[in-house]
Every structure is written in structure tokens, then in C-alpha cells.
């Protein structure tokens, strides 16, 4: 019964694309999930190599954004919004900048040293470096 329920749950889910975390080609060779999370919740401002980090999020409503945050920060969109409103209104920081499409994220990351973003695995090419496959 439990198994059946699990299968149904799998069927009910839309097919998820594999999310990969990317940096500029000059970025670090790999990062841990916690290092990436800390950049996206504003707790850390630097890449492991000391570069000032420029984390880029997908705009709210993008399916890949939900997938990334469910895996990496462990928070739903509503919880993230609540978290950021707490940070913003206590002067602790602002959320990462957002772009509308994975293409825009890839272009921005490919051309901005220090930038970090996430796209689907099949979009990866030489212009960016994959640092984490969460």
C-alpha cells in the first residue's frame, strides 16, 4: 500500500530537470551544498576562493527555482519570502538578484567573475563551470 502510494506520488510529480550549480569559468572547482546555501541566504558573501560572490536566483514562479531551493536551502518559496522579509526589515541584507530565464542566468554567470547561478544540466557548456550537482 505504502509502495503504491509512493509510485502514485512519483507519477503525480511533473518530470524534474536536473539542476546544476554553475560559476564563471574562473570560479572554484567544486562547492558543497552548504557553501552554496550560505550564499543564497546571504550568510556568506564570498566564494571559497575569496572572490566576492554575486549569487543569481531565478525569478519567483520558475519551476527550477522551486527545485533548487527545495534541495539546497530546504525552504519553500513562502518560507523563503518570510525569511527575506525578516532579513530586509532588520537591516541584515537583501535577497540575491534575480533573472527571468536559465539562459539569462547562464549568460550572466559566463560573463561575470564571481557570479554563481543554477541551470538545468542539459544547458551546460564550456562557458560556465559546474561546481555542484545537488
Amino acid at each position: 500500500m505504502k509502495k503504491l502510494f509512493f509510485i502514485l506520488l512519483l507519477l503525480a510529480q511533473p518530470a524534474l530537470a536536473d539542476v546544476v550549480v554553475i560559476t564563471h569559468p574562473s570560479g572554484p572547482d567544486s562547492m558543497t551544498q552548504n557553501q552554496v546555501r550560505d550564499l543564497y541566504i546571504g550568510r556568506s558573501k564570498q566564494l571559497p576562493d575569496g572572490h566576492t560572490a554575486d549569487p543569481i536566483d531565478l525569478a519567483s514562479g520558475h519551476a527550477l527555482r522551486d527545485e533548487f531551493h527545495t534541495t539546497v536551502t530546504g525552504r519553500s518559496q513562502a518560507q523563503l519570502n518570510a525569511f527575506w522579509s525578516q532579513q530586509v526589515f532588520t537591516g541584515k541584507g537583501q535577497p540575491p538578484r534575480t533573472l527571468d530565464t536559465t539562459t539569462a542566468v547562464k549568460t550572466a554567470v559566463a560573463s561575470t567573475p564571481g557570479a554563481i547561478g543554477y541551470i538545468t544540466a542539459d544547458e551546460v557548456d564550456d562557458s560556465v563551470k559546474v561546481v555542484l550537482q545537488p
Partner: protein, 406 residues
Amino acid sequence: MTLNIKSNALAIAGSLTLLIAPLTLTAEEEEKRISYLEQQLQQLQRLANQPAQERLRFNGFLSVGYGLASNDGGYADFTEEGTFKNESLFGLQGSFTISDNTEVIMQLVGRGSDGWEPTLEWAYISHNFTPDFKVRAGKMRMPLFMYSDSLEVGYAQPWLRPPEEVYGGIPVTSYIGIDGIYDFQLNNSTLSAQLFGGESEEELTISGQPTVLIIDNLFGTVISWTDFTWTLRANYATSEISTGGSLLETDFYGAGASFNNGVWQVISEFTRLEIDGPTTDVDSAYLTLARNFGGITPYFTYSIRSSQDDQERPLSRGAAFAAIANPDSPFFGNTAILSASDIQNVERTAYSVGIRWEATTSVSLKFDITHATDFGDTGGGLDGNLAPEVLYDDVNLYSIKLDAAF
């Protein structure tokens, strides 16, 4: 910024000319120049693609809340006549970046209870001496509770309102002064140490009386640790307070813990307020349990509030009112004597059940029912019970609230 890009572009153009002009370059020199050019290009890319940090940002929040109590005891300032006034408010915050390490933050809050007249709730300048050490000066929130900083930002909170037994006890929420915050970056967690000092003077209504409360020589510290899932916090503050009479030494202790794994949220705080003399010393605590089911998060809160120095107020409320009413008494007409009577004793337990529903992006709708009871021999800290007889033994409060952040 634009100027920088231009000068870099000029530098590259210049280098290009240099590179092309002398055709007699050795391969080695050429390599050097190319690598120099690549560096320049990277720098230029960085400048062009990393958007300049916006110098000025505005954020806002809004709450519209309605509450209705089962009696006129005044629990959380609500009565049988329901009202939107108490918990409806808007906030507008401006963050002005002065330099990479310095910013000014101002927050205006207009409350329904003040006729929506905006008042400056925050106004401070903050400077990062190092990435981990920040000093702020100006008007800030008194950091007595876990949710002090976002006290009025309902959207950032799981509850409809912070537990009244704990948060309702301190009428002053801001101070003017200076603080320093040092973050120790540990392996996968952060330990923050904060020291603050300052003063405050505010016109308030205490026990139904308009009062100017002066807080002087305020000093305190907050130690908190978080790994994003767990948060632990301990704080202490000391000050001298007065409502026109003598200065009373006041100490405040707080401890809190919270857990949030995205599904379950557990929050608990304990506070102790100690004031010299017969002014009520109070212990308070709460425990909140919330569970996230997609966009709906039901919660339950158990909270208590209990005065600790009842032996310092041996006079009964009956005797106090009799003395005030008796023309032969030295206290005839002097209501100040009430503050030394057991009318100020407090015992109260409250149970809240509520739901937070994510109505749409950055807007949540909340429902809450709170039952406050177990007043013992006391009036339960209700203003409506500051009478010769205790009129209310318990109270229910029904509330609905919309919170938004933008």
C-alpha cells in the same frame, strides 16, 4: 561606475593600439600583453555585468488585522467591540547605501491605533569595519526577544501575533543608542555577539494611565548561534527606569531556541523581568509548534505569564481601594497606592491555535483563536480587572489578519 567602464575601455583601446603598432614584438612580449589584455577584459566584464549595488532601496510591509474578544477585559487591547485598529499598520523602509560598507536605514511605521500617523521606528547608520564586525548608531529596536527586530513585520512571523504573555509585557520597543555586532563564522554555523547601550523616553498608556516612561543607562548583550535550522539565543539587559518618580534598577533576561527544517517549526522563549521595589517582576514563556503543509501552516502556542514578587505587595486590592475612598486615610484620592497592592499580581496561561495561509506571493492570511485563563487570585494582567473586584476570569480572542511584504 560609468566613468570606470569608460576609462577601462580606453585602457583596452590604448593597449590594443600598442599591441598592433610595433610589429617587431617578440612572442614572449606578445604573450604578456595578451594576458594583460585578458585581465583587463575580465575586469571590464565584471564591471559591466555585475549591476552596481543600488544606492537606494525601498521595501514595505502592511498588516490588516481584526480582533474580537469575548469580554471587555482588554486582552491584547481587544474588547467585545471588535476592531481593526490595534493590529493594522504599514511600514516603509528606505536603505541608503553610502559606500560599500556604510548604509543608513530608516523605517516609518503608521499604526491604526495611532490614527495611521507615520512615526520613525528605525533611523540608524550602520558601518561594517570588517565583513564580520558592524557598528550601528541611531534609533533601533531594543533586542529583548527573538522576534524584536521584526516585531511588526507580521509576514516574517508564523503567528498572527507574537505570544502576548511574553511580548505584551514590555511596552517600549525602541531605544536610541549604539550597538556593535560581531559574527564568528564557525564551520557551517554563525555565532553572533551583540553589545548595545542607549536610552529611551516614550509616552505610553500603562494600566490605562498616560505615562512618560524614561529608560536610562540601558546596556545589554545578545549572544545568538544559528546553523539555519537551529537558532539559540540568550540576552541580558540592564537599565534604570522611571515614570517620573525615583529611578528603579531593572534587569531583563531572555533565552530562546527555535528549530525550522522547512516542515516543522518549533519556537520557545523564556524571559524574566526584575524591577526594584513593588513594581511587578514577571517571568514569562511560550512554546510554539507549527507544521507546514504546502501553503498552509497551522500552529499551536502554549504561553504563561507569572509575577514573581507578590510578597512585595502585601496590600489587598480591597484595602487599597478602601484607603483611596476614605477621606480620613493618608492615601485618600491617591491611586498610586494601587501599584503597591496585589492588584498588580499576574497569573495567566494562554492557548492559541491558528493557521497561516499563503494567499499569494508575499501575502499571507492568518486566523487565530486564543484562550487565556488560570488567573488564580489575580486579574490576569488585564486592564479591565484593575477594579475593586476581579470582573473577568478568562477571555477568548478571535482574530483574522492579512500580512504582506513588498
